[in-house]
Symmetry: C3
Subunit: 292 residues, 3 copies
């Protein structure tokens, strides 16, 4: 039962990229007729739905859903955003017509600025706990970590002004182990070590070179390319692809599931420190100055 | 004792590459005078021997054996083929004059088409069990997985018409975890994940770029190059090279040994499903149509 | 408590590269004001100090220490050298003004020839034990393995005459598992497997291509580049960078700590074998002949 859920979740979902400054096209796929899925499950019709911050459209003929982040100015991952994200994924998961999801942004020039720093600053312990649980949930514990890294394929606009990375270290905080595990799965240990220690945001060409994104295309070709890649992946039998994906990501996933509560405690205790609060306030000041 | 066996097996052997459509030159090496080997072991003279499907010649002066698959039309890995393969490796293993093996094909234009699908289709549970055990055996549980990936060095003809990969997903089945582990050891997690999910067969130039093969050479230079590479590896003291190899592959090997019976059960149960049988029949139909 | 020690050690130190024939600039960094550090720790003033074989200068304004190996002819890692190295790192570790260390050589054309073979040849069991413990200590068990590989960034003179690698296999011996683990962390499993089995010493351009060094610069630019890279790393908040590094290297470190005594026993037992002693003597003979 648990396995079925995990498998299905892994099958299609992802986790939000932290500080992913790109109008990227990410995709994840999911089996509609998995052998693990109870056969009698009723179809939940869902052609399109929209919350405050996320818009979803499902093409039932192709089985491909388009999920667009629309939370200006920068699609930052607040508690509310993450909750909506989690619910949207859940809905698609329960819709047997959905075989894959393309995740993108409706806000020009940005995919997501990452975790919302204001959620980590000057709030209560209860709030931090709730926020971090939402990060884990929205990030689909079954899927792994970051939206982009958890997807099956990453396409980015070939504009050196756009960048992607995990910049926690620059804020004076540390990426949780399951962000790290997922990052390592994509780019390997050495690149991850350097990038995470420096909190690097990699411009598109560098990101591709490092393997952080799979492909760069002109901005106007993003949708077209995403659809083409999705078609390529959906050409495979769903159950075989899904079981393979589960096998590939099992170790990282199991580790997150096993240490989930511990991870929340660590985050809350860390972020509650006055020194960390000070770091975060300084970073926010710096961001404000940069804008003005 | 177990360690000695493992070490010696790891020392030279490999596992057959699934759907490896290339006249590749693969090699594996083995220590004749390992500290782990009982000193009094009698030499089993073996200059050359041939079964129905595999031909072996050993040059006792250099210690290099040449193993050629000769099971037309496509050297597919049937139960009989795998049994012969296992026996051939065993013979070389027991021959102290043998220091390394070059594995290639006597069938033009193909190394091996991979596991024989007819062995997985319409047979009895007993047959599936026996077949999968032979895959594990022939694949030398000590060595890892696929012949090519388990070898120390992979040389392929530089012809984009030849391809190599693990295409299970295309057949609707899933590579076992120890194929996956070995694949990851060679090309890394990310490339393995994408390649296995898509069941990709990579043309030679791409295979080299991904690290799936080490070198491409013109077809007529394969033998020459294989001999040169073998000489380079045999220049090292056998025991040091062998122990290093054991150390590098120990984790993957231990995992296979620990979960071997479970892996057989999984395979038999999976392949016995009517849905999987249907997938395999469809794939065979498709192959037949392609030929005609 | 242990964690604090580990974290701080990991924060800055490294392990000597075995047979690293390069005037390389390696660096490692360390947090002066880590949250893990007891706040009342008195500053040990240490502007510069020098033992017989290692010279250290600390620029207290930048927090950057320069450590130079000066044990001609080849900075080989003898028991005495490793002891001094360990003490020097310890001193810097206890100096809160020190945030990072640049490790280089005062001997022209060589960084270090690696472990001193004479320490492994014709000595007593007690001596082997003491030596290997010093290798582990000097190598900073907390940091990982080899000096260069344990550093955060590796810069090498772009001269193909200089080379770097772990050439144990050429001597007929085997790199310990924690050398291997660290090597794999930097270059990945496949490159490590081939390089360790062949005992390869990679010329600078190849070393960079394999990821064994991060950057090549003209020899006269080494110092300048090392300082620039150090500045880039020290721009990050120390505690975040340090915790990230700890997280990245924890698995390898834990494994070494858990198997330390076993590793010493293995080394002593292995190196005490007459066959191994013979291999080492032959290698030394060969080196002598090459010189004359």
């Amino acid at each position: 039962m648990a396995a079925a859920t995990l498998a299905r979740r892994i099958g299609r979902s992802g986790v939000l990229p932290l500080c992913c400054r790109l109008p990227a096209w990410d995709r994840a796929t999911r089996p509609p007729s998995s052998p693990l899925q109870p056969p009698g499950l009723p179809l939940a019709p869902c052609r399109s739905f929209s919350n405050n911050r996320i818009q979803v459209e499902l093409d039932e003929s192709s089985g491909v859903a388009m999920m667009k982040f629309k939370s200006p100015p920068v699609n930052s991952l607040s508690l509310e955003f993450l909750t909506e994200f989690s619910i949207s994924l859940e809905k698609l998961e329960n819709n047997r017509a959905c075989r894959g999801v393309i995740i993108t942004s409706a806000v020009p020039k940005i995919f997501s600025s990452g975790l919302d720093i204001t959620e980590m600053c000057g709030k209560s312990t209860e709030h931090y706990t709730e926020f971090w649980r939402a990060v884990q949930e929205g990030s689909s514990p079954a899927g792994g970590c970051l939206v982009a890294l958890s997807c099956d394929y990453r396409i980015m606009a070939e504009n050196p002004k756009f960048s992607i990375g995990l910049n926690e270290a620059q804020l004076g905080i540390v990426a949780p182990f399951w962000f790290k595990d997922t990052f390592v799965n994509v780019v390997g240990q050495r690149i991850a070590e350097r990038s995470l220690q420096l909190g690097s945001l990699h411009p598109a060409p560098e990101a591709q070179k490092l393997g952080l994104v799979d492909e760069l295309v002109p901005e106007e070709k993003l949708m077209e390319k995403a659809a083409a890649v999705m078609a390529q992946w959906l050409a495979l039998p769903d159950h075989a692809r899904q079981l393979t994906k589960t096998m590939m990501r099992k170790a990282v996933l199991d580790r997150l599931v096993a240490h989930r509560e511990e991870d929340i405690k660590n985050f809350v205790s860390f972020v509650s420190k006055e020194s960390i609060q000070k770091s975060l306030r300084m970073y926010m000041e710096m961001l404000k100055k940069r804008k003005s």
